[in-house]
């Protein structure tokens, strides 16, 4: 166990959107049976195969830190926000406000340097996230409760601003993340990106704008050959 490396991914979103259900589905491949409000932080582990199917396949631990979203615990949540390598933002498809609040969550995660009190009135500034290198994934839950056929063909504004991937799913069905489905592929690509950034990209300062990164694809394999 000492030889397996780990990455830490924060799973955040408003209270009641389905973070615990999603984490349980990812880690145990089964829908959760008795969801209750998360107090503080609940961590679950997924064994992820980096670069699955290639000769350089390696196992990593992905720690999914599911942070309880109630606003009354805001002042103590910051204790969990140190050195994470990935962010999963979860919103509820039946509640548009939870999608708008994703910006506030992003601000809370990325501006955690003390001053929790200032964050309550903090206005989201898109400029701050241009320099952000942490991979972000946006997930919409409760797909079964909205009209059928809803998919993010037109990426939402938050996803565009952060250069994040996104998909929608229903956490009560195990087949939403069945191996080989589009959602599972996107999720595993996200985990690969997180692991790559943490363990394989030595020259992370050379990845400048988000647009370049989206156009060119992962730069790090090319950069690592430059040695």
């Amino acid at each position: 166990m000492a030889s397996i490396n780990k990455v830490k991914v924060m799973v955040v979103g408003d209270s009641g959107v389905g973070k615990s259900a999603f984490v349980h589905l990812v880690c145990h491949s089964q829908p959760i049976t008795n969801p209750s409000w998360t107090i503080g932080c609940s961590v679950d582990i997924k064994l992820h195969e980096y670069k699955e199917g290639t000769p350089s396949q390696k196992t990593y631990f992905v720690e999914l830190w599911d942070i309880g979203g109630s606003s009354s615990h805001r002042n103590t949540r910051a204790v969990f926000y140190n050195c994470f390598q990935g962010i999963i933002l979860i919103h509820d498809l039946t509640n548009r406000k939870s999608h708008q609040n994703l910006r506030k969550w992003l601000a809370e995660l990325l501006c955690k340097e003390g001053n929790v009190k200032k964050n309550t009135g903090h206005d989201f500034d898109p400029e701050e996230f241009v320099d952000n290198q942490i991979p972000i994934l946006i997930i919409g839950t409760k797909l079964d409760m909205v009209q059928q056929g809803l998919s993010p063909n037109r990426s939402s504004s938050v996803a565009e601003e952060c250069g994040a991937d996104e998909f929608y799913l229903d956490c009560h069905q195990a087949k939403s993340l069945a191996p080989g489905s589009t959602n599972a592929v996107k999720l595993s690509r996200f985990f690969d990106k997180v692991i790559e950034r943490r363990y394989y990209s030595q020259n992370s300062s050379q990845m400048t704008t988000l647009l370049d990164r989206r156009r060119v694809g992962p730069l790090s394999p090319k950069l690592s050959h430059v040695d």
């Binding site: 397996i4 780990k6 880690c27 509640n95 406000k97 009190k117």
Partner: protein, 322 residues
């Protein structure tokens, strides 16, 4: 918690609120004498009937409906019947509550609205008293410095460290569980089917954390640790809240509320004393101390005020503030 976007609930809430405001305005008009007396009476009657209808029929019905629809094992077809049953039960309780009170007058009969109003009134006043009592006690507690324990940054840091340590222990155990479960999946004859010798051979040849892990025991330990982490987190939240309150009390607003807190707690103690005296000695209290204080102040300053109007306003204000 996110806002309730269910249209019906919003509508019901708005109607109830609007009706309450209308009745409140009618009371003020009554005191001040605005509008024709007959139109006031008409509006009053309409408002009263509508309010009673809401309170007795609509609200309990929908509350019961929503509660029952949230319980998982209730089927859709049975839902409506169960709601009607729940509502009838509620009406029965409602009736029973009113029995001890001497409000049944022979000339109005049983199903008149007087029954409804009197019951609603009694329950409403009791709830108001409970709420204001709670407010009276909670408010000095939150704003008076006497009740605030000092919290140093060291305390918060050590508690936060404990929370993180517990979470790290949970993570370690969960990693072992995950590895053990993966091992179980990879072994062909996995589970408890191997003999004792086979198990010993496996534990010698495989890695240190092989399938000899006792997964169920680990899961129990994880559950206990998770409970511990929740408790520690809640303690940390309390500590942070206390810190914020201490900082807030140092501001001017905080000091003002602190002074008000002392004033109101003295008032509450006086109230409790007087009501106990009233009940014990069976004496009907005439006027409450705030009005009496204002009477004295008014007489001292020699200004002409209508005392009955002042009575309404001051008592209501004090009640509202509490």
């Amino acid at each position: 918690m996110y806002c309730v976007h269910h249209r019906l609930v919003q509508l019901i809430f708005s109607i109830t609120f609007a009706l309450s405001c209308t009745m409140f305005e009618l009371i003020i008009f009554e005191i001040l004498g605005v509008l024709e007396a007959s139109s006031r009476f008409l509006h009053w009657k309409i408002g009263l009937y509508a309010m009673l209808f809401m309170l007795i029929f609509l609200l309990p019905f929908y509350i019961g409906y929503f509660i029952l629809s949230n319980i998982r094992f209730v089927k859709q077809s049975v839902l409506k019947l169960l709601t009607v049953a729940a509502w009838l039960f509620f009406m029965y309780l409602f009736w029973k509550i009113g029995d001890p009170f001497p409000i049944l007058s022979p000339k109005h009969g049983i199903f008149s609205i007087e029954q409804g109003i009197s019951r609603v009134g009694v329950i409403g006043v009791t709830l108001m008293a409970l709420l204001s009592g709670f407010g009276a006690v909670n408010y000095p507690y939150t704003s008076m410095t006497y009740f605030m324990r000092p919290v140093t940054p060291n305390d918060t840091q050590s508690l936060e460290k404990k929370v993180l340590q517990t979470v790290d222990m949970i993570i370690m155990k969960k990693k072992r569980i995950a590895l053990a479960e993966r091992e179980k999946l990879l072994q062909p004859g996995s589970g408890s089917q191997g003999s004792v010798i086979w198990n010993m051979l496996k534990s010698v040849t495989t890695s240190q954390y092989g399938s000899s892990e006792n997964v169920s025991q680990l899961k129990q330990e994880v559950a206990a640790l998770e409970e511990l982490s929740r408790q520690l987190f809640l303690e940390a939240v309390d500590m942070h809240t206390m810190q914020e309150r201490i900082e807030w009390s140092k501001t001017l607003k905080g000091k003002y509320f602190n002074f008000l807190g002392y004033f109101f707690s003295l008032y509450c103690v006086w109230k409790i004393f007087i009501s106990t005296v009233n009940i014990v000695f069976d004496r009907v209290g005439k006027v409450d101390p705030v009005t009496r204080g204002i009477e004295i102040a008014v007489n001292y300053m020699g200004i002409n005020f209508d005392v009955s109007v002042m009575f309404y306003f001051t008592s209501t204000t004090v009640l509202c503030v509490l």
